[in-house]
Symmetry: C2
């Protein structure tokens, strides 16, 4: 009952996101414009608006893909049961990912959502997945029945690491310290583990 498109909607979506990533790689994230993406995928601007509500949604879809990639990278980290070693291994994968996808990663955090607009449920779920990974690593430090303390610790650690990541990705870590981001991240984890150990001793 209709014309068969040269590409399905899913194909167009993938082409658009791939085109956007190409623009990011070759021209920087500032040049991710509707026209640039459209031109690179061989379509017109109008077609992009047929797939996405607008540029913001395209970038949101890009960020979702990036978040998935992060999770995939993290989920390959081994869990030996030794929190310190496991966390350090996880961190290294995180930092490798950020280093390899710096511009994409930075974009994830400057999506300026229209002031007090809740992110969609699927986004929260993607974030929760990452928390679950952290939780599994910290598990050995907590006795059964201390689940509340565990989740609280996971959140605090994640927030602290968020400080490291945002400063690094924004190119502003060197304002604070001259240490490489790997050392800062490891120091942060160590400080945290020391704090956790001290609290359990109370």
């Amino acid at each position: 009952m209709a014309r068969t498109a040269k590409h399905s909607k899913q194909e167009l979506r993938d082409m658009a996101l791939a085109a956007a990533r190409a623009v990011i790689a070759e021209e920087g994230s500032r040049n991710v414009t509707v026209r640039a993406v459209a031109a690179r995928m061989g379509y017109s601007v109008g077609t992009l608006y047929n797939i996405f509500e607008g540029l913001e949604e395209l970038i949101a879809a890009l960020n979702a893909e990036t978040l998935d990639g992060l999770y995939d990278a993290l989920s390959q980290a081994p869990i030996t049961g030794k929190p310190e070693a496991d966390l350090h291994a996880l961190l290294d994968r995180y930092l490798d990912f950020v280093a390899a996808n710096r511009r994409e990663w930075t974009m994830m955090f400057d999506e300026r959502l229209p002031e007090a607009k809740a992110p969609p449920a699927w986004y929260l779920e993607k974030v929760a997945r990452v928390f679950t990974l952290l939780g599994r690593m910290l598990q050995p430090l907590f006795a059964p029945g201390e689940e509340a303390d565990l989740t609280s610790a996971v959140r605090l650690l994640w927030i602290a690491m968020h400080g490291v990541w945002t400063l690094d990705a924004g190119g502003k870590l060197f304002i604070v310290t001259n240490d490489p981001v790997e050392k800062v991240a490891h120091d942060m984890v160590d400080m945290f583990l020391a704090g956790l150990g001290a609290r359990k001793g109370d």
Copy 2:
């Protein structure tokens, strides 16, 4: 030998920044445009370019003022010599300032400096001032000769708090936790102090 301006360059600068703040308050930071600021200060766009190199420099000047305001707020925190109480008091002032200047504060961290361009020296100095405040509060926890550990601890704590602040200001803290930002910040400090205590016990 020249025309006397209706307003001195310094006055124009102040008027522009005040106009920008008015725009932020009434129309949001997205609407801080050259035309909006110029109209609000009763001048044309050309005049703005006579004062600032461009919009980016205007926003940078705005951010500098915000950073000064932050320092002023923080420097009023009392130093009693008890790190825990002092840090909590400092945090409360920090959080009050961020709450009262949410949009301005957020703007400080999304100035997308053209990829690996160093900020000016005066900016680094303003940041260093804040570190000095933190350092004075943590001082009692360190023996003479441990200055390196002190500055390292200050940096780590500041980075961790940066995670709290950015998530909160970006309206994304609730993705991580339902706790109010004050509780998160205090928990973070407590975790840090516990970690410091444990390390000194080594």
